[in-house]
Every structure is written in C-alpha cells, then in structure tokens.
C-alpha cells in the first residue's frame, strides 16, 4: 500500500481521511513493513466500508488485513440501528462464526512424545475432516432447529461435553435471538450430515506446545505456562453458514436499490438493520453462529474420547472459544455516550478489555483471551483484550497471519510429501487425507504471524500473552 495516501497517527496506526462519499475515516493498524506489504485492495475496501449508511467512528482494518469480499478480511465496522445503520452478509462472510477453541491438557511434551504417532493417527481416524466427509450425528428437522437455537448449550445437553465448558465460550455458548425459521431448507440440508466435521482448507485441529510466555500474570489467569500442551481447534459453521452467506448476499444485492442504498461494490450488499431482510439475516446468522459453536463442541467431545484412550485420567478443560466472522449487538461508548451497536468482525477477533461485564468472572482482570491461529508448522499466539481498546477498534483484534501466496502458487511450489517430511524433521507431525491440501497450506504460503501480533500488541488492541508451536496437526 502506498503510505503517501495515509496520515500516520502513531507508529502502529494509519488513517485514510474521509473523501468521496466516506462518512467516517478509515483506520488501519499496522507497522511500517506490514502496511507497505498490504494489498492496495485493502485501501479500496476499508474505504468503501466507510461509505455505508450508519457507520460509527471509523472503518477499521486489523494488522492481518487482506483483500476480501466487499469488506477486507481483518475488517471491523460498527453500525447504529438508530441512524439508518445496516447489516451486511458480505461483512460477516461465508464461514459464519469460523473460530478457534483452545483446550488445556495438563500434559507436557514429554507426556505426548511416546504416543505422538498413534495419537495423530487416532485423531485423523476419528475426527471427520476434508472434502466429502460426513459426521456421526444426523439431525432431523426438530433436532436441527434445536441445535440452531441452542448452540454449544444444545450440544452439552445432547451429551457432547460438560456444563462448565459453556463458561469459556463467547455468549456462554449460545447466541440468543437465533431464528431457525429464517434458515432455508437448502442450508439445513447442507448441514444435515456435517455436524462435528472439521471442514477443509485452512481448518485444523492442532496439538501445540507453549514455547514462550510474555505476560506471566495473564498467563497464570489463563492457566498456561511454558511447556504446556494445548489443543487448538479451528473450524466454523460448515455448509449451513456457507449457504446462509450465499443466499443472503444475493437477496441483499437485489434489494439494496429498493432500500435506497447505493453500493460502491456489489459484494458490500447490505440491508437496513431495521428492515425485514436485515432482521431475517440477523436471525439466520445467529443460528449459524450457534451451529459453529455446536460444531466445535462436538469436535471437542470426539477429541476428549481420543485423548481418554491414551490418557485415561485426563480432563480437557476449555481455555476459551472465539469466533472470527460475526455481527454482534454490543454496548459501546462513542464520544462519551453509551450506545448499542452492531459490530461486524470479518476475519477479526472480539477482544473485550478487562472489566467488560460480558466476560466470565475469571477473565475480569485479564481481559478476554484472544486466540490467534497460525498455519501448520507456524506459531499460534494467545493474547488478551487490552484496556482501552473499545476506543481503538470496538474491542477487536487480528485473527491470524493471512496468506502471502495463493493456493495455486503454493501447489506449484511444494509437494505435500515434501512439506510433511520437512515438518517431521522439526518434530511436527502432519496428518491429512489430502497431500495436495498439505502443499497448498505449506507454512511458506503464509505471512509471519509474529509481526501481526506484535503490531496488535503495540497498537494497544491486545496484549501478547504466550506463543505456541504445533506438535501434531490434523488438516481438514
């Protein structure tokens, strides 16, 4: 990105002043190198978002921002329902509530090493993953609707996990006001056999080791220390979320003109929050969030069963569960005034600061755990929502590294076997049903996640707490 078009606010924030229809400025959080490497499309997209009706304060881009659809991936924007604010299906994305869940194991590397190969093989065998895979749970209409309303809470009631798991999930594992009736039969049919499946592409289940702790007090609150083994699950709302995204995007594209909304880019398709279409989308999207939460809960249950086989006394307690692609109604303070806003986070993590009443008691002093996924072979990070970030980004932070190379380029550059072998030499076991998938997800195809989290930390969005390194990776 050409930095001469930007006003530098601090070492880690850059502003695009309002111009040509922008209702608010755009603010990008990044250091000098990240901003220079950022695609010009991010400039265009973060600017376009600033033109949407009812946007509040600014259109934000996180340090891992890259070219998305309408909204940049790594985009955050809040809309006021009392000021003609909108909700955008493109501003949430196709993989609604894709997210990361971390589990404590109480194990160390030394415990894992003797069973590493068998553990990896068992996880690959038992967790449905990859193109064409189906889950073990098949929901009828009543079951589907109960799941869409109940989220992880439904899953726990159905025997997948423990009630205390819910304390460590955003919204206590269940988003209210989900409307299963607004979810089409097509979306439900697409999900019928996909509960408890990992998906494909960049989705994974990893066994990771905490290799460095930066903030010992927060790490203590989170229950982690150097040498700990953590399980990290990255997946979303599967076919149901994809279908809802697809259908509402089209409906919003077609109806935008009727609502008097001039779209700078078709992909920014949106509807007023108070319109029938806007309400219908919010109800369906919330059902998809619950679907993602239930899905990660079921995968947690399967993972626990696998681990019990190897470690009969083990408890895999949740550290936390975060979602990346959402639109949520949240209280915020703008210009000293309290208001309720619909915050879109597209490839961005909610990062509530210490004292936020919606955080579980245990995180009141630390702020919300922010789980940043790497790709196989690259590091993951745990951060904590920083005090004051409400005024910076509606309490949001980055979500991952982002690709530096397209899938096609990666597939041309590496062979799957070669990537697996190289990682094995570093002590990292990769298991997947597809060698092409491994090549496309090669560590070299991703940006350096360390630089992204450093920028998030320095910008004041979230504090670095710990760095983790993969030991086993099950690729979807």
């Amino acid at each position: 990105m050409d930095t001469t078009r930007l006003t530098r606010l601090t070492d880690y924030s850059w502003q695009i002043d309002p111009e040509g229809g922008m209702r608010v400025p755009a603010i990008i959080y990044a250091d000098q190198q990240l901003i220079e490497q950022m695609d010009d499309k991010v400039y265009e997209q973060v600017t376009n978002v600033a033109k949407l009706p009812g946007i509040v304060s600014a259109s934000y881009a996180m340090p891992d921002a890259h070219w998305g659809y309408g909204f940049p991936i790594g985009g955050v924007a809040a809309f006021d329902p009392n000021d003609d604010g909108i909700v955008s299906a493109g501003g949430v994305g196709f993989d609604i509530s894709c997210g990361v869940r971390d589990l404590h194991t109480g194990l160390t590397r030394a415990d894992i090493e003797p069973v590493k190969i068998n553990l990896a093989n068992s996880l690959l065998r038992d967790i449905p993953a990859g193109v064409g895979s189906t889950g073990h749970i098949h929901l009828d209409k009543t079951g589907m609707d109960a799941m869409l309303e109940g989220g992880a809470e439904w899953a726990v009631k159905s025997g997948y996990g423990m009630a205390e798991d819910l304390d460590r999930i955003e919204e206590h594992g269940r988003v209210s006001d989900a409307m299963p009736d607004e979810v089409s039969d097509h979306a439900k049919k697409r999900q019928r056999n996909e509960m408890g499946t990992l998906g494909s592409g960049n989705h994974y289940l990893e066994i990771q080791e905490v290799i460095e702790v930066y903030d010992h007090e927060t790490a203590r609150i989170f229950g982690i220390t150097t040498g700990d083994i953590i399980i990290s699950i990255h997946c979303g709302s599967r076919g149901l979320g994809h279908q809802i995204g697809t259908e509402f995007l089209k409906r919003m594209v077609i109806s935008a003109a009727n609502y008097g909304i001039k779209l700078p880019d078709r992909e920014l398709a949106c509807a007023p929050l108070t319109s029938p279409l806007g309400k219908s989308y919010l109800g369906a999207m919330r059902a998809a969030i619950n679907c993602a939460l239930a899905n990660r809960q079921i995968i947690t249950h399967i993972t626990r069963n696998v681990f019990h086989h190897f470690f009969p006394q083990i408890h895999l307690d949740l550290l936390f569960d975060v979602s990346h692609n959402t639109c949520k109604l949240e209280p915020h303070t703008v210009n000293g005034k309290k208001c309720k806003l619909y915050v879109h986070r597209k490839g961005a993590t909610r990062a509530f600061s210490p004292g936020n009443p919606d955080l579980p008691d245990v995180f009141q002093h630390s702020g919300q755990p922010v789980l940043i996924g790497g790709s196989m072979g690259t590091a993951s990070h745990i951060l904590a929502g920083n005090a004051g970030n409400d005024q910076l980004s509606f309490s949001s932070a980055c979500h991952g590294a982002g690709r530096s190379m397209s899938r096609r380029q990666a597939f041309k550059s590496w062979r799957g076997r070669q990537v697996s072998d190289e990682l094995a030499e570093r002590g990292i076991i990769i298991r997947s049903h597809t060698s092409r998938g491994i090549a496309e997800e090669a560590p070299g195809a991703y940006k350096n996640v360390d630089a992204v989290v450093d920028a998030a930390d320095h910008a004041g969005l979230a504090r670095k707490v710990a760095k983790l390194q993969p030991v086993i990776c099950i690729k979807g």
């Binding site: 990859g130 193109v131 494909s200 076919g239 690709r403 092409r436 998938g437 496309e440």
Partner: protein, 143 residues
Amino acid sequence: MKTNDECRWEHFSHEADMGIRGYGNTLEEAFSQAALAMTAVICELNTVIPLIPRKIECEAPDPELLFVDWLNALVYEMAVSKMLFSRFDIKINKSTLRATAWGEPVDQARHQAAVEVKGATYTELKVNREHDGAWIAQCVIDV
C-alpha cells in the same frame, strides 16, 4: 486446458482465495468452462469421472447474477451429494439456466481433494462478450 482457441478455462490470483475464468464461443460454453475451473480448484480435473448426471436449474435477473447462481447451485450439489463434477451440458434461456452436471462421489484417496468451495462471490465478477466475439465468465470463489 484448451479445447479450442475460444473454449478454455484458467485460474487467476486472489490473495486469500481463487479466481476462476471460463472462455467460450457461447455464454453456455463460458459457464461450462468456468465450472471446470472450479472443480480444478478442488482437485485434479482428470481424476473426476463424469459418471452420474445431476440436474441443476437456476434463475437470476442478469447474466452476472446467473453465473454466480450457477456456480453456487453446483457448490450446493457437491456439498449435499458429496460429489465432484467434470462435465457440464448447459442451456440458457434469458434469465433461466438448465443444466446437467456429470460427476462421481468424492473418493478422498483418488481425488486428493484439497478444499471445499464455500461459495461463489461477486468479487471480480464479469460476464461479457469480448471484441473477438468470445464469451468470458469469471469471479472469485471462497475456499
């Protein structure tokens, strides 16, 4: 992947995902070639045997929306039938598309399918006729 000068497909770069583009002598051919490009994002096209037919229909107010709808109808069929497709017979009459897609059930070991397609997007969406008379149909798909 050329079948003749006007009838071919290709991928184009998108930072996170993948662009697909089909060229044809007719609108139908361009749509068909783009669908081949989509399967080629998932796996090697020549591993998919066009064995079983599936009927697909969609309707949209303009050719670009119809193109996205066509791809999304295929994404849906792949997801629900757990199939991959490698041959397409398409008829377009104004705003309506009727097609038969030929393919087979996913076989992980043989197809080595790398990614599911989540949906076709309106990003870089273009359906039109070039100066030389060839049709082009393209967009970015989310994987």
